[in-house]
Every structure is written in structure tokens, then in C-alpha cells.
């Protein structure tokens, strides 16, 4: 039943991932259309590496995270964890794998149970990993120490912590089951700038120490550029551009990536920008038009972009891009 997708060093490989949400209308709740939240997403995360997933709000980043964690059932596509396709596995089959992939959330206030102490939240993970009761206290202290929380935090409730401290506890909870992949769903966007830096550095240190792989979701290209080995730029459920970080920053090909880069603060004030920043809002993912999804906001849009579906195109050395302009060049 389970298909193996061979790859030597990959922790997670996602292929053709799709999730459409039905939109129900009217008294009888008939399905009136589909929100194509995730529409054929493919990427690969290697051992101890970070993949940055960037995109504007509503483009489906969190949905990808939930699909990978099997909190949502994918409509199509494969999710291969260390070569084993888990996209069709049942909840029972997936249970032992749950420990391998963990998530850190955006909202530090909603991500911890207000009725559980920090220690109890972390203990849930230790219980799952089968750590015997006597050893748990010591492990909790060690985990809290690892994320930079002081001794005595374990007995406190979430409302006694600041946003940054809660985020650290959330990370400790994720680490409690010794995962190899952590999905960070905008872990710093709700935090103060100075605290953001601390959390990023903590994540980086943990990666060096424990050999973790990250799927780092953000809408901030700057942060993603700093943390990631590879970057995937997402727009309306599609990945528009996907390449090594340095390559993407030096040689961005997709007009959307260019637009995003131009909204990143530039260190040198005099520098000329190749494209104006993005105009307008993200269009609705509800029944998008045929052709390129970015057509509505692209300044370089042509006839072909409006009619013809566009596939991933390899512009050399695994720099994948989804744009007719690049294909034609």
C-alpha cells in the first residue's frame, strides 16, 4: 500500500499536495464552490536543513502545515516522511510518526493550554514518548533550560509568562517528543522585534545542537532569508518559485518574488528597485481564473498568462519557477 519515494537525505518530501475547501451556500448547504487553499504544492526538506515558506496572508501556508501534520486530510498528493508516504495512512498508522513532526504556532497566547502549567504542557509530550513518571520532572527542567527558561517556570501557568516566554515553552513542548522536523508556523510574527531575534537565534541554536529540520513559515522574506537553506515562495495555493536561498535572493525570477523582495527593507538607501511593490490585495482563492494565479497583479502579464496553465520550470540548478516569461526566455 505504502509507496516509497526514494531520496537519500530527505526528511520530508511533498508532491502534488492539494486541499480544496468546499464553500457551502444557501439553506440546504449545497457546495457552491471550492477554495483552492493548496493546489499542487511540492518541496523537499533535507536533514538538518531549513525550508522557508513565504507568502502573503491567506495563500495557504498554514494549510500546508496542517496537511503535513495530518491534522487535515489531503485531497491529493504525497507526503513522504523519510521515504514513507503517509498521505493516505489512517490515524492509527500515523500515531507513531506523530512524534517525528511537531509544530510551533504563531499566536503565543492560544498555543498553550491556559489551565495547564508549562510543565504539564511539556509533560504531555513526555507521556507520549513513554518517559516514566519519575524521570519526567528532570526532563521538563532540562527542556525548559534548553529553550532558555529559568528554573521554576515549570509550575507556572501561561498567563504568568510574556509572549516570548510562551513561545519558548511552545518550542520546549515541541521538543519534548524529540522530533526530527519542526514546522514553525510564523513563530515570530506576533512578537516584538527584539524578542523576534531571540527566538530566531534560539531556533538556530537548537538546529545546530539537535540536528533538527525546519519548515519555517513566514511572510517576512528577510527572516526567511536569514534562517533558510531553501526558500519556496507561495501564492494562492501554488508555489511560484523554489530554490536555494542565496540563488533566490541574487537571481529572483518570478515577478511575485521580485515584488516581495522590493518590500523587504533595503540596507542601502540609494539602491534602485527593479519592480514596484505589490498593488492590491491577494485575490480570493475561491474558484481562481485559469492561467497563472498571479495574473491579476502582475505588471508583465500577457495573453498566455491569462489562458494557459503554467507548470514548474527548471531555470537551472534546481531553481524552479512558475512563470511564462521565464519559460520563454
Amino acid at each position: 500500500m505504502e509507496q516509497t519515494i526514494s531520496s537519500n537525505n530527505s526528511v520530508l518530501k511533498v508532491n502534488g499536495l492539494k486541499k480544496y475547501f468546499p464553500v457551502r451556500r444557501g439553506f440546504f448547504q449545497r457546495i457552491g464552490g471550492w477554495i483552492k487553499a493548496v493546489d499542487g504544492v511540492a518541496f523537499e526538506i533535507e536533514q538538518a536543513k531549513t525550508l522557508g515558506l513565504v507568502g502573503e496572508s491567506g495563500c495557504g501556508k498554514s494549510t500546508v502545515a496542517r496537511l503535513i501534520l495530518k491534522l487535515l486530510e489531503a485531497d491529493a498528493g504525497q507526503i513522504a516522511y523519510r521515504g514513507r508516504d503517509i498521505s493516505k495512512s489512517s490515524e492509527k498508522d500515523i500515531k507513531p510518526l506523530r512524534k517525528e513532526m511537531q509544530i510551533v504556532f504563531q499566536d503565543p497566547y492560544g498555543s498553550l493550554n491556559p489551565r495547564m502549567t508549562a510543565g504539564q504542557s511539556i509533560e504531555e509530550g513526555l507521556r507520549i514518548s513513554g518517559v516514566p513518571g519519575k524521570k519526567r520532572k528532570e526532563r521538563i527542567d532540562r527542556l525548559l533550560n534548553m529553550v532558555g527558561m529559568s528554573y521554576g517556570s515549570a509550575d507556572r501557568y501561561p498567563h504568568e509568562f510574556s509572549g516570548g516566554q510562551r513561545q519558548r515553552i511552545g518550542i520546549a513542548r515541541a521538543l519534548s517528543v524529540e522530533p526530527s522536523l519542526i514546522i514553525c508556523d510564523e513563530p515570530i510574527s506576533a512578537l516584538d522585534v527584539s524578542i523576534q531575534a531571540q527566538i530566531i537565534n534560539l531556533l538556530k541554536d537548537l538546529q545546530d545542537e539537535l540536528g533538527l529540520s525546519y519548515l519555517f513559515i513566514s511572510h517576512d522574506l528577510n527572516v526567511v532569508g536569514y534562517l533558510s537553506d531553501q526558500v519556496a515562495v507561495m501564492y494562492l495555493g501554488h508555489i511560484m518559485e523554489y530554490s536555494r536561498t542565496a540563488e533566490l535572493f541574487e537571481n529572483p525570477l518570478h515577478p511575485y518574488t521580485l515584488a516581495l523582495l522590493s518590500s523587504v527593507p533595503v540596507p542601502e538607501p540609494g539602491q534602485k528597485l527593479r519592480m514596484q511593490s505589490l498593488k492590491g490585495d491577494v485575490p480570493s482563492a475561491l474558484d481562481p481564473p485559469p492561467g497563472c494565479k498571479f495574473q491579476g497583479r502582475c505588471t508583465l502579464v500577457e495573453e498566455q498568462c491569462r489562458n494557459q496553465e503554467i507548470d514548474f520550470y527548471d531555470a537551472g540548478e534546481g531553481h524552479m519557477v512558475r512563470c511564462w516569461k521565464v519559460v520563454k526566455k
Binding site: R66, L69, L71, K95, R98, K99, M101, Q102, I103, F105, Q106, D107, G110, S111, L112, N113, R115, M116, S121, E124, G125, I128, G148, M149, S150, G152, S153, R156, H159, E160, F161, S162, G164, Q165, R168, R173, A174, S176, V177, S194, A197, Q198, I200, N201, L202, D205, N222, G225, Y226, T245, A246, F249, E250, L261, V264, V266, P267, E268, Q271, R274
Partner: protein, 392 residues
């Protein structure tokens, strides 16, 4: 072009250890807010007094030779007013009230009203707590299922099976002749169960029939909430009256009936809480860790949903006490000679001009207890309201 290397992230400082804010537990914070509400404190105090009284009442009025005998009839001493001295010469030694006077007077049979009130306090307390306990239990159960598993659909075979088992239950209850057919129905139900368990085996020839049986009907949420709506349609007091008229009168039946007709509010509360809780990140995190459904419901979600339930339960106790008193007053409640506040009141109404204490004493007792539960409940609600915390 922007270069990653140029972005100065390296001078971000890493602090080693976060320091912590001074300690203030939830309980302390709760108490701090709660004690500012004078009325709620008064409610709490009266509640504690009532609890002690009722407990004392149980021990002092029951047993073979009780300290206060609520059933002792002294016909020569009827309708004595409160604090009147007993006529010692006309009474047997064991008939003299323990405290020397009739603290609350006597009724038309010369029974000590104080002893009867003590006995009734225990009835009120147990009716209140047991009835609310039942309603909260049912409410949490139904609301929890509707909120957590609500999106799942009920299939045709589920409905059939439940109907069959229900019919079997009724037939068994109806007596000997029907038990035979009950067995047949149970047999049918188990065949159906067998079909269900063959789900995974994919029976070839049967698959068409089985397909019909597997058809989705309505979602669990819809079913439960419609049952709630239907239950709410009945004026509950008359529903209780109807059921009480059919069942043998006993204190336990009263408790169960009051409980089973008042779970709807709790169900709605719990469902609403669960619907919002199950979308919260900490529940998602628990699922991602691999925590089981059962544990997620009871360890992660329930403690967050229990506060409004507690509030409505406290007020529900008052309602239950009032309902029991009303039933007893109408003569449908706890059967005499057992005293309850409701039937003391009811007996007293014939002598309202000659012996007003027979109506006023139980009436005021009911008023105070119901009021104290309401005040306490409202104080709880105000204190647990998160918006209030910001104000202080």
C-alpha cells in the same frame, strides 16, 4: 539587489535566561476578585451555613431514636407558636422537644416544625445537588459529543440499530408476553452489528445493500441540538408534572426527573465552548503530539469549558430546589410523612391565618437558600468573566 549577507542579524543579542514575573496563582487571583463582591460572599456564607444545617439535619432527624423527631405526633400540642413552652405535664418524657421549647412552633398534628425543617433541608440539598449533578453530567456528555465529534455523520445502520435496541428495551419493560419478541429484536440488532464489523472485509454480494445501510443521514451535532430544541419546547414544570404523575412518588424519582429535564442549557454551553476550543492552537498541538481523543476532551478541553457550566450549575441548584418545593406543594413531590420544605408549606396553607409560621418559615427558608445560590452563581460568573480581569 538585496543580499542576505548584508542584513545585520548577527548583532541580535541572545539573552540566556528569561526572568519571571512575581507569582500569583489563578486561585489567588480568583479569590482577590471574588471577595470584592459583597453579595456573592454573603451568598457563599449562607450556602455554607445551609450545607452544615442540612448535614446536621440528616444526622439529628434520622435513625431509630433521633435527637429531633420530625414524625412525632403530639395532638394535644397542635399549632403552638414559635418559642412556646411545651406543657410538660401532658407529654410523655420522650415527647418533650430536645431544646426545651418549640423553636419554630408545631403544626396541625403537633409535630415539631424545627425538626421537620431540618429534615427538609437535607431533602432540598440532595435534590438540588443530585438533580444538578445529573443535568450537568448529561449536559457535558451531550454537549461534548456535539462539539467535538459533531461534524461526523450518523449512518442509516446506526439509526436502525438504536431503534431496534430501543424497541427491545420497551418490550422487555412491558412484560412477559413481549420479552419473546424482544429477544428477536435484539437478535436482529446483533446481526446488524455483525454487518457493521464486516465493514473492512468488503463483502461482495452484499455491498449494494450494505451501501444503502451506510448512507449518511444527519450529523451528530444536528441530532443532539434538535433534541435540545425539542426538550426546550416543553414547559419543563408541566413536563415534570406529567412524568411524576406516571411514576411512583419517591424522592429519587424527583431528583432524576428534575435532572433529566434540565440538561439542555449545559449542553448548549459545553457545545459552544467545545466548538471554539477545538479550533484553538493548544488543542491542535495536543493532537500533533499524538494525544488521544479521550484525553484531549477531558484533560485539555474540559477544564477550559467548565467555568460557565459551574456558574449555570450553581444557579441550577436554586431552580431545582424551587422545583422540588413546587412539586411538593402541589402534592406531587416527596411523599409524606417525609418532610420537605415544599410540603410543610403546603400543609401550612390551610392555617395561614391561625398559624402563619407554618407558611412563613419554609417560605422564607426557600427564599433565602435560592437567593444565596443565585447571588453566589452570579458572583462566580462575574469573577470568571475574563473581561472583568482587565478592569482591576
Amino acid at each position: 539587489m538585496t543580499k542576505v549577507e548584508k542584513i545585520e542579524i548577527n548583532d541580535y543579542q541572545t539573552t540566556n535566561h528569561e526572568f519571571l514575573a512575581p507569582r500569583r496563582t489563578r486561585l489567588k487571583e480568583f479569590w482577590h476578585l471574588f471577595k470584592q463582591n459583597r453579595l456573592a460572599i454573603a451568598g457563599l456564607v449562607i450556602f455554607v451555613l445551609f450545607f452544615i444545617t442540612a448535614l446536621a439535619g440528616l444526622f439529628l432527624t434520622s435513625g431509630h431514636d433521633p435527637v429531633f423527631d420530625p414524625a412525632l405526633v403530639r395532638l394535644q400540642e397542635k399549632l403552638r407558636s414559635p418559642f412556646s413552652q411545651p406543657k410538660i405535664d401532658t407529654l410523655m418524657p420522650h415527647e418533650i422537644p430536645t431544646v426545651g421549647v418549640y423553636v419554630m412552633g408545631t403544626d396541625d398534628l403537633g409535630r415539631d416544625v424545627f425538626a421537620r425543617m431540618l429534615q427538609g433541608a437535607w431533602v432540598s440539598l440532595t435534590v438540588g445537588f443530585v438533580a444538578v449533578g445529573i443535568s450537568v453530567f448529561v449536559g457535558i456528555f451531550m454537549g461534548g459529543i456535539a462539539g467535538y465529534f459533531g461534524q461526523n455523520h450518523i449512518r442509516l445502520d446506526h439509526i436502525l440499530m438504536v431503534c431496534l435496541l430501543f424497541a427491545a428495551g420497551i418490550f422487555i419493560a412491558m412484560g412477559e408476553f413481549f420479552s419473546g419478541s424482544a429477544f428477536l429484536i435484539v437478535f436482529l440488532a446483533s446481526v446488524l452489528l455483525l454487518f457493521r464489523s464486516m465493514n473492512k472485509m468488503e463483502m461482495r454480494g452484499m455491498s449494494k445493500w450494505y451501501g444503502i445501510l451506510k448512507k449518511d443521514t444527519i450529523s451528530i451535532d444536528t441530532l443532539i441540538m434538535r433534541i435540545v430544541d425539542i426538550m426546550l419546547c416543553f414547559p419543563s414544570f408541566f413536563l415534570i408534572l406529567t412524568v411524576v404523575a406516571l411514576l411512583p412518588a419517591s424522592i429519587y424519582n424527583i431528583m432524576i426527573i428534575i435532572g433529566l429535564t434540565s440538561w439542555m442549557g449545559t449542553t448548549r454551553f459545553v457545545r459552544a465552548e467545545f466548538l471554539s476550543l477545538r479550533e484553538q492552537d493548544f488543542v491542535t498541538a495536543a493532537r500533533a503530539l499524538g494525544v488521544g481523543n479521550f484525553r484531549i476532551i477531558f484533560r485539555h478541553m474540559m477544564p477550559n469549558a467548565i467555568a460557565p457550566v459551574l456558574v449555570s450549575a450553581t444557579i441550577g441548584i436554586a431552580t431545582a430546589i424551587l422545583t422540588e418545593a413546587g412539586l411538593s406543594f402541589l402534592g406531587f413531590g416527596v411523599p409524606p410523612p417525609h418532610a420537605t420544605w415544599g410540603n410543610i408549606l403546603s400543609d401550612g396553607k390551610r392555617f395561614i391565618f391561625d398559624a402563619p409560621w407554618l407558611t412563613f418559615i419554609p417560605g422564607i427558608a426557600i427564599l433565602i437558600v435560592v437567593l444565596c445560590f443565585n447571588l453566589f452563581g452570579e458572583g462566580l460568573r462575574d469573577t470568571l468573566n475574563p473581561k472583568l480581569k482587565e478592569r482591576h
